[in-house]
Subunit: 329 residues, 4 copies
């Protein structure tokens, strides 16, 4: 199966697909490390794209990609979630060093009216915002509480405005030192859905998860570093059908490997033909369909809690529970 | 491709699949008629399952199944929607004759927190309820306004209660003459999604659309006739992959029809094998995944308006706009 | 100020008003006790209405009324909230002894679309429901996990059905051993708003908080004991104006106490006259107005978390965090 | 009753209070006209503040204030609403002349989680946005369809950002020719609630309705003209109590007018004393309380429909229903 399109929002999936495709053991120009927490079966992969070579192989810009994976994200395990919150807060802190005076703007991407796309706005609703207090009563906040603001800019179909324009406009006014953008992503594989959180310091393209190619939010477009936090909550329907078909044809090819004629036949079904057939099937909905699990509402609630807590802890390191009490409302 | 599972919530899809499978022109024991409105390209199919023979072929109980289809349901065409509302109100009226004193309970099935499953609760929120006024001030309502009540019982995963139990409990207390139940359904084909409204007088199984096999709401379980209104808003992911695979293999078989060996090979991929392969792919989400279009929020808003308006008109035939004004709030 | 109407949903307010009015130190036929937790300034009052005499004085039925008061409910103090959750869970447990096999139905009263009235539905959305699992896989739940179901029946203006009918219907079907009903109440005094939680074992009248006189949910109407949990989230506008006027006139009377003529004048403004004047002011909105704090959204979120957690702990006493993990979804 | 604070968001209330207070017939420096539609009992008042003198008397900037009043806004009268939509669309068009190429940004002020404050975000959700299509496919829109975008910037307590900063940032990026800002206001009188729509061309202070003094959105702060649309949905609790008290004392004074001693007594209750007493009563909620009708959810739905429709018609004058069909989604 050649010519396989290996695009996915997740760096770790890209890497897996590249290695599988190229039959190699590592990719030139990238660093790869893994950390595993056995107690709660949490795995964190660190992919560092070091140079243009890595950039080309991965189809992603130079920078750090941290992927936290755990099936505990799919269930309601409080202890595991506390552990994951701590690990996540640590990684957020490591991806971008903040000084005590740094100010941060949190951007919740996505459409609050479509359940699997509502992750970003839900996280924003749980962020401990302090900027308005910092401006007026800085002394009331004490040390270790940073200036944090948060915005859900909505989606272009509802606002008529590119998300990039809204965010750039606000960034120009309030001049944060860092933007953290949260979005629902599209995974390649069903097994990733709601079990993976990806951090990266290279920015994010709003709406990538639900199939729109929007202008990127990154240091070039916003003038300030953008830390992206993404969770795959859907798989694109065309991609899922295509990949499923590949797996099934692979299976058939293996079973019937003695028949070179048959092998040729199956292999001759080109990507284009398959793509055309699948497009036909999905045409009545313009191809813009996604696949998501039935219990997506509960999952989005759970994930938004975990991510909002990790951000709150990462941004206010000296904060104690008593401090949160004073600032939360 | 034998052994094809032809189950779908839509009678008209079942009929198409049966005819295609059996290579026949009609099904014994069912009546079939079509009405077409050319101005707005609305098609209404009437399937009457007449006897046990028809019941067996269709896998659905004896009764009437009315399917309104129009691509206008997918766009925002006010004139077409007014026409569809009128046609729908007429068909609701024909499926069950109500006397002036009849009372009706509207049940909105589904989960309001999962966008494509929120059709039923959204319709209920737009129903003109009058029962509480009828009980206390019947004379204030005048003629032609029936006693209407409405309830969204929630889903079992949230309540711990079978929907049938909640509805049966309420029916036993308020003793309506008719129950109208609205639910999101699963279609077999992507082309049906959000372009089809099915009415039937044989009851409904809550949650069928999102894959749960719940106890049916019908005259046997509730003791009162149940008119069901369903709109396919999703396709089950496993079904979509399976059907896509079938289409693609069919295509391959046709292309290479000269090779009887190849034909055998492809055809030998049994339903069970395919089912096993697909289950494997979807296993990480327990197989409970659905496919739905990106703009599902706007679509559900539009469809719930159309259905609620049709019900309001069908149930209060003598009502004028002035009357609505007096009773709505 | 004679003829003062002392009605309020809160037994502790009724008692205060009675004592103030009667100038006595205690009320015949009621027992009164107080517990105070100094660490978190939580006060719990226990009012036991023992007989008909107490019933008459209080205008409330024989039974137990437990009122937890703490200004910590108005702020975001995690430690205080954990303490309050534990105290609340204890009192729920004491008000009605449950056996291991007892099943409980939670009813969330109120209108989810009006922020200060959405407490009940919000609590229900956070309840750990187990009844559907208990029915099918009882052994999977282990000991100490009771059968719990939960329902938000909606308000009569939306459903056309008296809440009592919906609840009675469901109770008759699923036959719980106890009903716990949660509702937003109306306080008499602004100082009670969002700082008080009242438990009682005598049932509840849905919608009392927002001014409607609905049929009571209690052992007589439902055939099963009803434990009520209420939080005052509003003050009725007419009541607030009336009480404010009384306070101001009292102040004037005290200031000018030497003038018996003036005293007579002010005192001669009868309840009826005042009531008439206030009704006039509120007439354009039919008098159905309520007063609530600006930040009511955050407050309702906080209170629904506290109450749902207390119920979850009270009903599943042997549950560990690991168990919750297994049953929550 | 001197020293009465006559502040209110509504110019027409300010005028009434000024005239009543000053016992004059007209205000120097303002023009006043009335239009009445008898069929639907709609009244439109036009207040033009012409110069600094008018500005000082009214406590509002020079400019036009158009107030539409109708009790039909409180009920569900479709015909009256269609009439009001047309009148409103006309007045919007007259307040600011747009050329065919003008672009407009709609801003929905307020907090979507607090029912009476959610008017702005609800209007925004019903606006026909076209800017993103205009940018890419201008020819597909035809004539008479203007470039419209829409944003709900959230409230400062949730975002940490002054609303003015967010709006200014977006305005600087997308450079609209006009901003239309919608907000829930506070009325002085209960009779205004939900029965009045005020338009003005002088800008708006976000959050005025619920008591926060935010930075104004107007041509000075944004660099572009701001047309404000406001509906009073609440009365401030302290204001309502104060005004009620005044009315009742006025009544007492009139009744007992023969007693000059009594008159002196009552009149001696100064504004400060009253204010102090009322502040005391509301202190437990920091004084930030509002009064709103019980059925506020239905009212906000109705008003947001009317305002959104009026804006859609005013901004796209040549649009036909068929055009809406093509652009709406």
């Amino acid at each position: 199966m050649k010519n396989k399109n290996i695009y996915t929002d997740l760096a770790t999936e890209t890497r897996d697909l590249y290695l599988q495709d190229s039959q190699e053991d590592e990719i030139d120009g990238i660093d790869f490390n893994i950390f595993e927490d056995d107690e709660y079966s949490v795995k964190i992969s660190f992919i560092e794209i070091l140079n243009e070579k890595g950039e080309k192989s991965m189809g992603k810009p130079i920078g750090s990609y941290v992927t936290l994976e755990s099936d505990e994200l799919k269930v309601n395990d409080i202890d595991a979630h506390e552990k994951i919150i701590k690990l996540l807060a640590d990684e957020i802190g490591k991806l971008h060093k903040l000084s005590e005076k740094s100010s941060v703007l949190i951007i919740g991407l996505g459409n609050r009216s479509v359940t699997p796309d509502s992750l970003g706005p839900k996280v924003v609703s749980k962020i401990l915002v302090t900027r308005h207090i910092k401006e007026v009563l800085p002394e009331s906040l004490g040390d270790g509480v940073r200036s944090v603001s948060a915005l859900s800019p909505g989606v272009m179909g509802m606002t008529g405005i590119e998300t990039k324009e809204t965010v750039k406009g606000v960034v120009d006014r309030i001049k944060p030192d860092l933007v953290i953008a949260i979005d629902a992503l599209a995974a390649r594989s069903v097994s990733r859905i709601n079990s993976t959180i990806q951090l990266s310091d290279t920015g994010i393209s709003p709406g990538a998860g639900l199939g729109n190619n929007r202008k990127k939010l990154d240091i070039e477009t916003l003038g300030v570093k953008v830390l992206a936090i993404g969770v795959p909550t859907v798989v694109d329907a065309a991609t899922l059908i295509n990949d499923s078909l590949d797996k099934i044809l692979d299976e058939m090819i293996q079973e019937c490997s003695e028949s070179s004629y048959f092998y040729e036949m199956l292999n001759s079904l080109s990507s284009e033909e398959k793509h055309g057939l699948i497009s036909n099937i999905l045409a009545p909905c313009d191809g813009n369909m996604f696949v998501t699990p039935k219990e997506v509402d509960a999952t989005i609630d759970r994930l938004s809690n975990i991510i909002a807590n990790a951000i709150n802890i990462a941004l206010h390191p000296n904060i104690t529970k008593e401090d949160i009490n004073r600032y939360m409302y």
